[in-house]
Amino acid sequence: MNQDTRLSLTVNGEEREIEIDPRATLVDALRDRVGLTGTKKGCDRGECGACTVLVDGRRVLSCLTLAVTVGGAEITTIEGLAGEDGEPHPVQRAFLESDAFQCGFCTPGQVLSAVGCIAEGHAGSPDEIREWMSGNLCRCAAYPQIVAAVSKAAVR
């Protein structure tokens, strides 16, 4: 058996010390050890994008990231997007206004991916958004509304 190792993660600006098996992925560490269940585990093999989080500001898949490899990094999850007063992030607001979800399971990943997409400068047109958001699947197929939401948030 492996010994758990001590790991220091900065999640949404807050430093967290956890004990973790080196085999644990970041999505499992966030959900089961840090207690933030907003990050969703979909396919668990890097194909659906539901587990998207930001690591040092870049969107990545937390199901293909071993938690031990991001010790010391700044991790942003869906719980950390809102402003200090609880005001939703502009992307969250745009998703609400555009009705860009149905069941909601892929939404945290969609929102974090959209934050990355806009920051990278790839939200200039609906076609560009579709291409640069293609790593986030939506089984409810809310794609037209998602594209609208990302477009709306990008110009804010």
Binding site: R23, G49, T52, L64, T65, L66, V68, G116
Partner: protein, 324 residues
């Protein structure tokens, strides 16, 4: 997932010493290895995290583009020199995977991807010589729609998944690898092996070696990567073409072509490259007949004869786009 020890390394000597120990594997972006760990396809005793090694730089000097093995796909694609002087390289990177995976995946790791087919990862274990050598090849007598048309053996008919590798093959790039005692330089077109009798020997990297860089000579301003796939984004190629051309007054004076999706490794079309010199870019019929020189050796399987036609048509378009 089997248990493993985890170590972070910071220097190359330390890394190479660690990789010399049996059962040790490096981890960079993890986008492939973590899947294989979960599925029991890889069972290292120790993982060495190489992400802090100083191998992330991309630079152009003395006529050579040098890409550190740990540079991320998205960073290389966004590099100004790469975008301006090696469009085929930037395009191959941007047409691969998804934005999240490109942010994670390293250049060295991209080249280390397993050549595989759906049977390799089947939910219920089926014969696959790349999982258990000698167990057989389910694809050979199964669904061959996505299989190779060149260079396959009865041990394996899978096609390699890397778009980048195809571009690097057309660009005559070199994969630089370091072992504890020496450095080796391997042509990118030969880095991934053909299956032959040893389908488990996936590439030319030897035990204990690490890819440190990829070097690409010269410029390739007139180049293009065409990827044909079953959906518009986030999908492996059915067939892809990397074309690097030189032309004067509408006539081809030099062409380098590599195909993806057709073999266990990128497939250079050397016979066609010679036959294409002197051909008028606007003469599609002449381009097609010159390309045919490389397809006499095609060996399509029951379900993939379409790739022979598709690859030639895609190559025509890639050449014309590269020259445009």
């Amino acid at each position: 997932m089997r248990t493993f020890d985890y170590t972070r390394v910071r220097g190359l000597e330390e890394t190479l010493a660690a990789l010399g120990e049996p059962g040790t594997q490096p981890i960079a972006g993890g986008t492939e290895l973590v899947n294989w760990l979960k599925e029991g396809i890889e069972e290292p005793r120790r993982l060495v995290d190489i992400n802090r090694l100083p191998l992330r730089d991309v630079g152009f000097a003395d006529g050579v583009l040098r890409i550190g093995a740990l540079a991320r796909m998205s960073d290389v694609a966004a590099d100004e020199i790469v975008a301006a002087r090696f469009p085929v390289l930037a395009q191959s990177l941007l047409l691969a995977a998804s934005a999240q995976l490109r942010n994670m995946a390293s250049i060295g790791g991209n080249l280390m991807q397993r050549t595989r087919c759906p049977y390799f990862r089947a939910d219920t274990a089926v014969p696959c010589n790349k999982r258990a050598e000698g167990s057989g090849c389910s694809a050979l007598h199964g669904d061959t729609g996505a299989a190779a048309i060149f260079g396959w053996s009865d041990r394996c008919v899978a096609t390699h998944p890397s778009d980048l590798a195809v571009a690097l093959a057309a660009l005559d790039a070199v994969v630089v690898v370091r072992g504890e005692r020496s450095e080796r330089r391997i042509p990118a077109s030969e880095f991934i092996r053909l299956p032959g009798d040893e389908p488990l020997r996936h590439n030319e990297l030897r035990a204990g070696e690490l890819i440190t860089a990829v070097e690409v000579p010269g410029g390739a301003e007139r180049s293009y990567y065409l990827k044909v796939r079953e959906r518009a984004s986030y999908e492996f190629a059915v067939v892809s073409v990397a074309a690097v051309v030189r032309a004067e007054g509408g006539t081809l004076t030099g062409v380098r072509l590599a195909l993806g999706g057709v073999a266990h490794r990128p497939w250079r079309l050397t016979a066609a490259e010679s036959a294409l010199v002197g051909v008028d870019l606007g003469d599609t019929t002449a381009l097609r007949s010159a390309l045919a020189a490389s397809f006499t050796e095609a060996r399509p399987l029951a379900g993939n004869e379409y790739k022979v036609t598709l690859a030639q048509r895609a190559a025509v378009r890639a050449i014309q786009e590269a020259a445009a």
